[in-house]
Structure formats: structure tokens, C-alpha cells
Symmetry: C2
Subunit: 501 residues, 2 copies
Amino acid sequence: MEKEIKKLKQRLGEVYDLRNAAEVLWWDQTTYMPPGGAAARGRQLSTLERLAHEKFTDPAVGELLEDLRSCEKELPYDSDESSLIRVTRCEYEREVMKPSDLVAEFSAHASESHNAWSRARPGNDFAAMRPYLEKTLDLSRRLAGFFSGYDHIADPLIAESDYDMTASSVRAVFSELRGHLVPLVQQITEQPPVDDSCLRQPFGVAEQLAFSEEVIRRFGYDFRRGRQDLTAHPFMTKFSWGDVRITTYAKKNDLRNPLFSTLHEAGHGLYEQGIARELEDTPLGEGRSAGLHESQSRLWENVVGRSRPMWRFFYPRLQEIFPNRLGSVPLEEFYRAINKVERSLIRTDADEATYDLHVIMRFDFELDLLEGKLEVRDLPEAWRERIKSDIGVEPPDDRDGVLQDAHWYDGAVGGMFQGYTLGNIMGAQFYGAALAQHPNIPEEFEAGEFGTLLAWLRENIYRPGGKYTTNEVLEKATGSTLSVEPYADYLRSKFGDIYDL
Amino acid sequence: MEKEIKKLKQRLGEVYDLRNAAEVLWWDQTTYMPPGGAAARGRQLSTLERLAHEKFTDPAVGELLEDLRSCEKELPYDSDESSLIRVTRCEYEREVMKPSDLVAEFSAHASESHNAWSRARPGNDFAAMRPYLEKTLDLSRRLAGFFSGYDHIADPLIAESDYDMTASSVRAVFSELRGHLVPLVQQITEQPPVDDSCLRQPFGVAEQLAFSEEVIRRFGYDFRRGRQDLTAHPFMTKFSWGDVRITTYAKKNDLRNPLFSTLHEAGHGLYEQGIARELEDTPLGEGRSAGLHESQSRLWENVVGRSRPMWRFFYPRLQEIFPNRLGSVPLEEFYRAINKVERSLIRTDADEATYDLHVIMRFDFELDLLEGKLEVRDLPEAWRERIKSDIGVEPPDDRDGVLQDAHWYDGAVGGMFQGYTLGNIMGAQFYGAALAQHPNIPEEFEAGEFGTLLAWLRENIYRPGGKYTTNEVLEKATGSTLSVEPYADYLRSKFGDIYDL
């Protein structure tokens, strides 16, 4: 058995070397690559993804997994070995359904489409992206077509990132959440608007970057095993246990960026940096689902990063850096400004109360596109109507409308967005559980200490990596399955306080 | 036949995707990678190199090349197709001798050794590098051992980069050159030393980088298809026809760096950027030999970059950037300073008159190590003795002695250094031929124009990429084979003028 495990790990090692190499190429494409590099980069990524897929779905891997079936049952469920066999088989059974050529085509297309989007978005040119998005939709449908027995065509795509969810289960959760959000946003926006002009001043980009890195260093992000660079659409990426990078983007006249982008991506980074080293280069060595991952990015960005206790510590430091801009702005005014609720255009910049309405809208569009209810050519118009009715704003152009997000332009249509809101919901559950066990956590924040929270998250979520399903993690850590209530309570309590509801 | 050519190109495309991906990973390792990434990076590089080697030496490639033998003869020697078959077979026959596992081991070791060197050099710790270098020597010998019929064990290693040279032919050329250099350096150093204090002042790094990029942009380096980053040991690397990058390093108190490092690497970059696009992703799509490559880096760095005409144009610009440092320094003083000859420690910083003595010393060490005449443990001492007798300086430590260069610590022992001096020799031949056809070239330099020289080099050297052997390129471009005389004349004339010999 040890011999088979070793063989399996060797094969997985090769697969992860190829996958990680592809991650480096992707990171470079979105950070430093000169424009001339675009054409070949798509081919290179496509070759790496195809080879990784071929190596992973090699029949010899299937045979090894078969040989290991009995020993999986003999060993404790929690053990590294049993988990490795179980989780690898789960991924193998999914990957083996996809032809390697389709994987390669998807990857080449994603790279080309992302390059086209990098130009089309600033140019407000949806027409240029239409053929790319149509091909993405076509590829997404073809991918789903290789899986049988689903209820909704989006199910296999959702399963790519949140494999224990379906279109129907996500819809149910989103519908319940919507029932909380719509009246909350209504109530808030009936109040006098918060003044956030203190954030909208000229701030030096270098100082902003340095401060945001100071914050995440205190959170526990390890720069010896990571770094931060600038991109158009921030992301976290992992090349190995020892190299977990984040990217951010900076605005000169808005203090919220890079700050909150950095905190968000650092949340993802803390998750990946916290996974046990011995699980590296196997399916256990990465966060298990998009929802779990977003629970961490959104928790560190919002639950921690937009909390009063944490700013009691960091705000004086920020005032020191920008004395002319913030010296006379009281903490409370700053706190209200960074939590200002408003009907706005951009998902990634949205406040916590309206954010999920953006995601739910996106998710519905994905289902409509996949079902054929909505054509790509009609999407910009449908977007304008829906964002007006759901969020109450009218995009002046496609740049800040349907073109705003990289995800449809560098990935699939379907399965790309639900994780954000599932993450918000879970994040509140996790934080509630940590707080119940360690009521001193907010006091620690006030002293610039985040170790108790981080240790709890590492123990309950990060260290086991991909060992447990999302539901298993939730139950182990919080004693409950997915529940909207804690998140709804959190939002009501936070914004009730700020807006005096 | 068209079908076979297409098949061959497809297979080569996959090989080059893997090789280019490895280049990206290497570039990242030496520019941006955090220290924690080192362990996995070696494995990743090793996997990519092994797969590239397996794919290239696949028997199906050999069969395709056999099938194409007849059509190679039917087509004109100069044609893309005939050249593709000829040059690919030449590389195939060499690569097929090496076991893929050794290639992988070499690559993993190079990455680990480079990381160790990055720490050991600043720490002046040769003892830490000794086991790495011993393994490198062992791997180099094992690699050579897979080739039969050589006269000297270094021959197969020299053939890796300068495949039409041998230890014996290089020795003959070096011995002839040495006969010119030793008396020249002796004569020069008997003269009063040149005052180069104008270069040794505090200069802003950002301004130096910007100026060096301004110069190479005028040379013709295309930043839409390239970029420059900082490293410990500068190099040029190519990820595709459209992405040819250079690196440099900056010193605050020495105007020579990044400037001349940038010019040197840009010379390599101009070569690669100038290769015909249709040769991409085949063995024709890259410079043919280390010697040819260095002929271009050294030509742009020295023959152009340290010439009086070019500085007639650029020096006023440089004075504008550093008015307090250079405003009152006359052009002639600056020109003499950047061409100051002195007995010095560091090869890459050495002037043109002493540079080749460093290379010849290195080359001799490589042969002695491979022959077993010299042990790695005795190398630092041997270095100190030889550099004292050959160049007349005593290194205060190993940092600026045997540890100074990355090459033995990230590549083979053997075949790593001869290209520099072969390049100097060829560079003078090429420049002489270009000048004979276009005597107005120096006048153009004075006007900041480099187009005539660049066009001549593109036509005669760059565009055909790897089509011709080094000797063929020399004969086509200059009408002569490798000849030391033009280089010796160039040095005598240049330094005769400066030092009034």
C-alpha cells in the first residue's frame, strides 16, 4: 500500500508541477507580460493545461485509485492517506469525463479572451468581446455536456468550484438571503447618506500599498512565502506551499483601493499559506471550494477589515501616514465611510449590504445564458435593466456594466459567482463560532493582534486543506450546516448600528 | 511532405511551449520569487525540462526526420523547410544521447544551486557552494559521458552552446588572442591611469534605469515585445517571438551599471527580436550559438556602446539628467572613463582590453576541472593564484573571486564561457564588414541613429535565426571564417588612441 501511495503521489507531483507552472504563466500574463507576449502565452497555457489533464486522467491513475480502494476503507477517514485517495478519486472521476482537447481549447481561449478584455474594457467595447463570450458560453455548454444525470446544465459547472452545490440549492439559499437584503438596503437608503468624502482624496499610491501590506503582515500573511503585485483584476494564486501570491489594484483618489482588495486577496492567501505542508502537490493541498475560499477572503476583508475594533488600532497609523488628509477626520467618521451603503455599479467595490445583490444578479444571468433564455448579444441591455431594478443604478456604459468583471472573460459562464455569496454566508458562521469560543477576539483586534482568530481558522479550516467537504468543514467548525441566519444577523446588527435603524 | 512538416512543427510546438514555460519560471525565480518558493521551483523546472526532453526525443520525431530526409535534399539549402529538417535533426541527434532523467536532475540541481549561490555569494561562503559545484561537475562529466568519440571531455559540453567548436579549436584561438592581449595590457598599464572618478558618484537608480532604456529604445529594442527587470546576474530570456526580456542590475555609485549591463543584454535581445517570426517555436527560431549571441551583446555594449560617436549624441542627454554630477565633465573625459583599462576583479565589469583574460582563465579552469587536474576544493586558491598572475589583482575574498559569476552555479562546468570571447572576436568581424559596406554608420551614431547598422545585422545575422552554422553566418556576412585579427586591430586602434600608445 505504501508503494501505491508513493506512486500516486509521484504522478500527482508531475500534474501539480504542470498546473503550478501554468499558474506562474497566468500570473505573469496579468502582471508583467508585454503586449507582444499575448499570442504565444495562450498556446503555452493550453499545452500545460492539456498535459496536466492528460497526466491526471491517465488510466494508470485510475488503476492506482482502484487498487487503493480497500486501504482507503481500512484507514481512518481523517487520515492523510485515506483522504488523499478519497479526494483524488472524486476529482479523477470528474476530470476523466472531460476530453483533454477541450481542456486545452478552454485554456487557450481563456488566455486570448482575457487579453481582449484587457483592451475592450477600457475601450468600453462590448462588441469586441461578444464573439469571445459566445465562444466561452459554447465551451461551457460543451463542458457541461460531458456530464450526465444533472438536473440543470449549470450543475456540472457549479460543481467545478462548489462541488456539493447545484443550481437549485444555490437558488434556494440566494432566495432566502434576498429576502433579508432587499428590505435592509431599502431601510438603509431611506436614511441620510453617509459622508465618505474623507476617502475620496488624493492619496499616494506607494503609501497606500505600503500601508495595506503592513495590515496584512499583522493579519499573518507571510511575505517570505508570498508577494503582492499590481493587476487589472486582483486575484490570489499559488505556485507552491512556499509561494502564495496576491495581486491588487490601486486608485489614486480612493482610499478603498488597494486597501480592501489587498485584504480580500490576503484572506485567500492566509487560507492557502495555512494548509499543512505535507499535503502539498496533491488535491488535499488546496482550499476545497470557492465558497470556503471566499468565506476567508470576505471574512478578512469585511468582518475583520471593516470592523471598528481593528480600526481602533490601525486608524491612528493611517492618520500618521496621511496627516493632511485624515489628521482631522475622527475614527467614527472614517469607520462609517468605509462601511457606507449605496446603490452602486461595481461588484468588487460594493458595500456589504448590496454586494450579494450583484452576485445574485450575475448568478441568474449565468443560468439564463446557459439555458438559452438570454443571448449574449442581449446581455448588455439585460444587465442595464436588471441592475436598475435590483440595485437601483444605471450604468453609464458597458465598461462599468457588463464588462466590469474579468471572470466571464477568463473562465466559464456558469459557476463563477455563487462562491462569493456562499462565502459571505459561511464567513459569518465561522466568525460567530470563533467568537463564541474566544470572546476576546475583538479586544485583540484593538491591540493589533489577530493571532487567536488566525489560529482558530487555521485549526478548523486551513490546515486540513481539501480533506473535508464544505459541509464537513462547516459542521466541524460551527456545529451546523450552511445557514443564512448568522450572516443576516451580522448585517442587520452592523448596519443597524451605523444607520441607527 | 507538407503533412510531415506540419506534424513535425506540431511536435516542436509542444516542446517549445514547455521550454518557454520553463524560461518563464526561471525568469520569475531570479526576479520576483519570494524565498519560500525555491524548493518547489526546482521540482517544477525539472518536470518541465524532462517533459520537453521526452517530447523532443520521442522516437516519432526521429521517424518524421527520417521520412523527411529525401525532401530535405530536394529543397534549396536556404529554404525554411530544408533548414528546419537539417537543424532539427542536428539537435535531435544530440539530445537523443542524453537520458531525460539526467536532464531533469540537471535542471533541478541548477535551480537549487542558483538559490544557494544567491545566499552564498553575499555571505562570501564558498564552503556552502562546494558540494553544489562538485555535483555540477559530476553531472557535467556524466552528461559528456553519453557522447562518444570526442577528443576532450569538454567537447560535448562546448558543443551544447558552440556546437562547431572543440576544446582544441577554442584553445588555439584563445592562445592567438592572448598573444595580442598580454602586451597590449602591459603597454596600457604602463601609461598614467585614466581618471574615472566622474563615474563613481551617487547617481539615482531610477534615472539610470530610465536612461539605459532610452538608449536601447534608440538602438531598436522593442518594449512592446520585451521589458527590463532587476536581477543579481543579468541575462536575456525569450518566451516567444513577441516576448524577449532582459534583466539588469543597478549600482548607486557607479554609472556603468545598469547602463552597460542593459546595453549588453539588449544586444542579445535585438538578436532574438530580429529573428523571422515564421521560424518561431522551432530550432530555427533562436540564435544559433553562444558565440554568435555574444557577438551581438558585446557589439552593442562595446563597439557601439563605448564608442565616441554614440556618446556625441547621448552624452549631452546624460548631462541633462545629472547636471550636478556631469555638467562640468567634458565628453572626452567621460569617454576615457568608460573605456578605462585596469587590472580588475570582476569579469562582467572588466574593460575590453582585460575582459578576455578573465574568460580565458575561466575556460582553462573548466578544462582542468573536467580533466580532474583541479579539485573543486582547490579552486578558490587556484583562482587567486591565476588572477594574480594573469590579470595582476588579488581578490580580497571569494565573493569577488570564484563566487562572482552565476554560470558555474546555475549551469554546467564546461562550455559556459568560451562564447564570450568568441563573440568579441566575431563582433569585430561583423562590425568591420558592416562598416565597409556602410561607411556612414559612425556619422549616424552621432545623430542618434542606429538603423543602418541594425538593418545590416538583421539581414545578415538575426533574421535567419538558427538556419546557418556560425561559420556559415561569418562567411556570408564577412566573406571570411573566424579570424582574431580584426578584433586585435580594433582593440589596438581604440586603446592606442585613448592611451596614446
